[in-house]
């Protein structure tokens, strides 16, 4: 158990177990502190309509393993990784469902459009390959550097640099008209 130590007791031959109260915070405190940014992160990757559910699923996964997660160096990194993976899966699944409707002749998917530049930016992030989108979202939503992104996603620094570089290049190309037009 984290925070538990055994030392010889004052009485010879008898070990006294000293249980130090773990310094880890409660799940509830963690949840209240991290939920908002996690929902934003989920929205960046999967869209606002499903962000609450995805963030909640990630938090529920953390709650079920809180005895382990709370003992990690950076518990929130674990939750962000779960959230990132679920968000990308959810996005991929919605794409599959959209294609299914076309395949089965039910209807053609109607793309939603938005004039808001912010919406356009995140929509383009979601069009990136999953890993690139995750790296970009962690960089912008949480303002994380390469090393922290690598630790969050359990990939190498070099991979993060590659994903960020490719992702940013793709975004710059797709958003070029917007970048040029914005005063």
């Amino acid at each position: 158990m984290a925070g538990e130590a055994v030392r010889p007791g004052a009485v010879e031959g008898v070990a006294t177990v000293v249980v130090q109260l773990a310094a880890t915070e409660t799940f509830e405190g963690f949840y209240r502190r991290e939920l908002r940014s996690l929902v934003t992160f989920a929205a960046a990757l999967a869209g606002p309509a499903h962000a609450d559910d995805i963030a909640q699923e990630a938090m529920l996964a953390a709650y079920r393993r809180w005895d382990v997660v709370s003992g990690l160096d950076v518990p929130v990194a674990w939750v962000r990784k779960v959230c990132a993976n679920r968000a990308v899966s959810a996005l991929r699944r919605r794409a599959s469902e959209g294609r299914a409707l076309v395949r089965l002749g039910a209807r053609r998917d109607t793309p939603t459009t938005s004039d808001a530049e912010s919406d356009v930016f995140w929509a383009e992030v979601r069009r990136l390959p999953g890993r690139q989108a995750q790296c970009i979202a962690l960089a912008y939503v949480y303002d994380l550097g390469v090393a922290d992104i690598a630790r969050t996603l359990s990939i190498s620094d070099g991979s993060v640099k590659t994903h960020l570089s490719r992702g940013r290049a793709a975004l710059a190309a797709r958003l070029a008209p917007l970048l040029e037009e914005t005063p």
């Binding site: 709650y63 079920r64 002749g105 912008y140 958003l175 005063p183």
Partner: protein
């Protein structure tokens, strides 16, 4: 403006939009409710295990008066991993059989059970209607999966999607009819088994230069089946597949299981056969 500046503005806007009306306290309460519900489900399963074990011991002792050697219980408790727990079982029309591991039962007109014998399918099918669902492969580059079309009606080779009486009404006759569609590459109806029921599988790959007489939305296809809730199954050049036909266990209708892929490598279809063969129609 640079990409970074745009991103910063976009992040601020997104945070403001997602934070509006968000109540961490209310969501935390919902999380605890979900957790309690799951605990109750696991407790019921554990009680079933205990009851089965006690009954087994009692029966054995009654037979020969000796305590039997430990045997595995008849049912198992689902691992509380969270991956196939109440997130999955809370969906409309879906139930998770007790002790079923990755199994999910979908209450279509003919209920179907996906047994999760392979882990390379998404755990949750997409249900479009009471007689139509999709299951998707994971870990493949191309969009691949299968569609369960209940109450499948074989249609003429025309734009009308009208029933073709020449197909007959049994799974076997329809499979034979399907194998002789003029627009398909030469194929035969292969006898197979789906969940223990006899079935017939036919490869559906469009022949080169074949004329596609119908359309699905605006895309030309060679028509094969429709069903009462509006599904239209047709073959297109970029969608090779296999269709497995079986008689509905609960009636006189035919179920078509359409395995498809957007991959030019049709070998990926073989990987879906294990999953399709394990479907159960209890």
């Amino acid at each position: 403006v640079t990409l970074d500046e745009l991103a910063q503005v976009a992040t601020r806007d997104l945070a403001a939009a997602t934070g509006r009306g968000l109540s961490p306290d209310a969501m935390l309460a919902r999380l605890h409710r979900a957790r309690r519900r799951r605990t109750a489900v696991v407790s019921v399963a554990a009680a079933a295990v205990l009851a089965a074990a006690v009954a087994g011991v009692g029966a054995a002792v009654g037979r020969d008066g000796a305590t039997p050697s430990p045997r595995p219980p008849a049912v198992s408790v689902p691992a509380p991993s969270g991956e196939t727990g109440d997130d999955l079982c809370d969906q409309p029309l879906i139930t998770c059989p007790q002790g079923g591991g990755r199994s999910v039962r979908v209450a279509l007109i003919d209920p179907v059970e996906l047994n999760g014998v392979t882990t390379n399918f998404e755990a949750l099918p997409k249900i479009f209607s009471v007689d139509l669902l999709d299951a998707y492969r994971t870990g493949v580059r191309y969009h691949t999966g299968f569609t369960v079309v209940e109450r499948a009606v074989p249609v003429r080779n025309s734009s009308q999607w009208s029933r073709d009486p020449e197909a007959g009404s049994t799974a076997r006759s329809i499979a034979t009819w399907l194998a002789h569609r003029p627009f398909l590459q030469p194929t035969t109806a292969v006898p197979v088994s789906v969940g223990g029921w006899p079935a017939w599988r036919v490869r559906t790959v469009l022949r080169g230069g074949a004329r596609m007489t119908a359309s699905r939305n605006d895309d030309p296809v060679a028509p094969l089946f429709r069903n009462p809730t509006g599904a239209r199954v047709g073959v297109a050049p970029d969608l090779p597949g296999e269709i497995t036909l079986l008689r509905s266990p609960t009636g006189h209708r035919v179920i078509a299981i359409w395995s498809w892929t957007t991959s030019p490598q049709t070998s990926v279809l073989a990987d879906s056969r294990l999953m399709i063969g394990s479907l159960r129609f209890p």
